[in-house]
Amino acid sequence: MRFLFKTDYRQDLRLARQPGQRLWYALLLACLLVAPGWAGSYWIAQLGFVLVYAIAGLGLMVLSGYTGLLSIGHAAFLGVGAYAQAWLTSRGVPFVPALLLSAALSALAGVVVGLPALRVKGIYLAIATLAFGFIVEEVLARWESVTGGNAGLAVGAPQVAGYTLDSPAAFYYLSLAVCVLATLGVLNLLRGATGRAFIAIRDSEISAQSMGIHLARYKTLSFALSAALVGLAGALYAHKLRYISPEQFGIGQSVDLLLLVVVGGLGSVHGAFLGAAFLIVMPQLIVLAKDWLPPAVAQASGLQALVYGLVLMAFVLFEPMGLYGRWCKVRTYLELFPFYRQGMFRRQKAFQRSERLK
């Protein structure tokens, strides 16, 4: 066991609070920086996907994991970001301003969706966001003069400061840079008053309000921030795939994002990364498993969806805190060995709560 002595309030404001953390994250970053040197371009491309999905995961994590608002239409923001980026860069807007504009446009869409969130809650909000997802998908398919309709749209390689980033490694570094900045931003918010207000709304709206938190403002802010991050991921996604079409931003993608945050662990920044890694690694594992399965099963078209569904159910039932929650348990077990007790992470049943808002 180890004890951490605290002698200054500023210690708790640091991003790395445990003594060894700084070293481990520096090592991780160093590994990620040198990865293109030794890993093949296929793996670098996959790692790039993990980073893009991690940004989107951070976005949904802010909304669902920290503010407690459920969304099953988040692929729509990915679509808004992707199409905005494609359209802007095709009009000659440089990469960085286009990226910021795409995120801003997506945030604006987030505000529009956030407005009903002030009135509806829980499952009804999920339905409202689901409807929004379908509307955006339909708009992308029908607004042919801008989006190219169902035929899709080709997107060029990003051009930053005169360089064309068309190799997987170059794009990987770009995604890494955006991802690190997005993560730092989210971590900053979470250690400040804004992040705490989100958490307050998630856990008890009535008492958040009596603490002086403007529910409407913070819920809208959370939606906008979440949409901006997912839009940012969408913009990178467009450059990554070089070709976008409306069906990439449908309900399937939204469910993938939801799967990402639940499997990763709701309410943890680590969870967004673990979930993103899961989402990218899983199809590869399924492909590998196909060689071992009887052909009737291996050739079935819905195999991936079935496996995803089972995994989601298994996590909801057995590990609601996701992969990150599991990791915390393992870490605690090792730290306390041999004193870990069975029920240490078991949640107590909530007491009766007083009157809720609406």
């Binding site: 708790d12 900053n188 705490r196 002086g212 403007h214 949640r347």
Partner: protein
């Protein structure tokens, strides 16, 4: 009344609330003076918590008004009440369950935050100063209410008695002028109730915070309150010192029934 108008912090005037066919409050009036502990008592359903919820603006009154330092509170949005210097606790504890005790207390400081969204996003020096100020306030309250051992514990895992104290600490972190305590001793054992009585006195005398409280435990009420208001079925029965109210015939009747009722019970037995 011997006290001048400037001594009145909160003034409730002819407050009436109707939920459908139920008249929850029927013309309730009282004044809370600066620096006193004012207690609302009464049987279940008397409308005590309703008064609190009206002050917190959780729902609007049907009639009457609430004046805070002479200004009508009923025109303010619910989230603006805390910034006015009014903090509250809840009867059944409304803490942020999946956050630590410290985080809960820091949220209590929300109205005093000096940094907005962009400052937080970049964690500017202003955001850092604001976070440190919140932390200092939280630590003062941890010190006052002996919560050191639970600082980094998740609220979801804490025993009931400790949660009650955490909720009190969170309310104090907003630096209120008026503290609304909804049944501070409910669910507490004898020692915990004893501590609560001390703390309520400390809050009033050391921090100079006026307390408006709903409470059932009459021994606690008579030990800490300056004035008591007894209610029944949405109406005021009596008002005065704890001893005066406890001796009031209407109050005894509301709690125990009339002498005739008792006599008839005796006959039936």
């Amino acid at each position: 009344m011997s006290h001048s108008q400037s001594d009145t912090l909160l003034s409730v005037r002819e407050l009436t609330v109707r939920f459908g066919g139920v008249l929850a409050l029927d013309g309730v009036s009282f004044d809370v003076r600066r620096g006193e502990v004012f207690t609302l008592i009464g049987p279940n359903g008397a409308g005590k918590t309703t008064v609190f919820n009206l002050i917190s603006r959780i729902y609007p009154p049907t009639g009457g008004e609430i004046l805070w330092l002479g200004e009508p509170l009923t025109r303010m949005p619910p989230h603006a009440i805390a910034a006015q210097g009014i903090a509250r606790t809840f009867q059944n504890i409304e803490l942020f369950e999946h956050a630590t005790v410290l985080q809960n207390l820091l949220i209590g400081h929300h109205t005093h935050r000096a940094a907005g969204f962009w400052a937080d996003l970049l964690f500017t020096p202003a955001a850092r100063r604001s976070a440190l100020a919140a932390r200092r306030k939280a630590e003062e309250m941890i010190e006052l209410l002996d919560l050191q051992a639970h600082r980094d514990a998740l609220v979801a895992g804490l025993p009931y008695g400790v949660r009650k104290v955490v909720e009190l600490a969170r309310a104090l972190c907003s630096g209120p002028r008026l503290l609304l305590l909804d049944e501070p001793s409910s669910g507490l054992n004898v020692e915990e109730t004893e501590d609560m009585a001390w703390w309520i006195r400390d809050i009033r005398s050391e921090l100079g915070i006026t307390v408006l409280m709903v409470e059932h435990d009459m021994s606690l009420v008579s030990r800490v309150s300056d004035r008591v208001l007894a209610m029944n079925q949405g109406q005021v029965l009596a008002q005065g010192t704890p001893a005066e109210v406890q001796a009031h015939a209407g109050v005894i009747e509301a709690y125990l029934g009339t002498v005739d009722d008792v006599a008839s019970l005796r006959r039936a037995a």
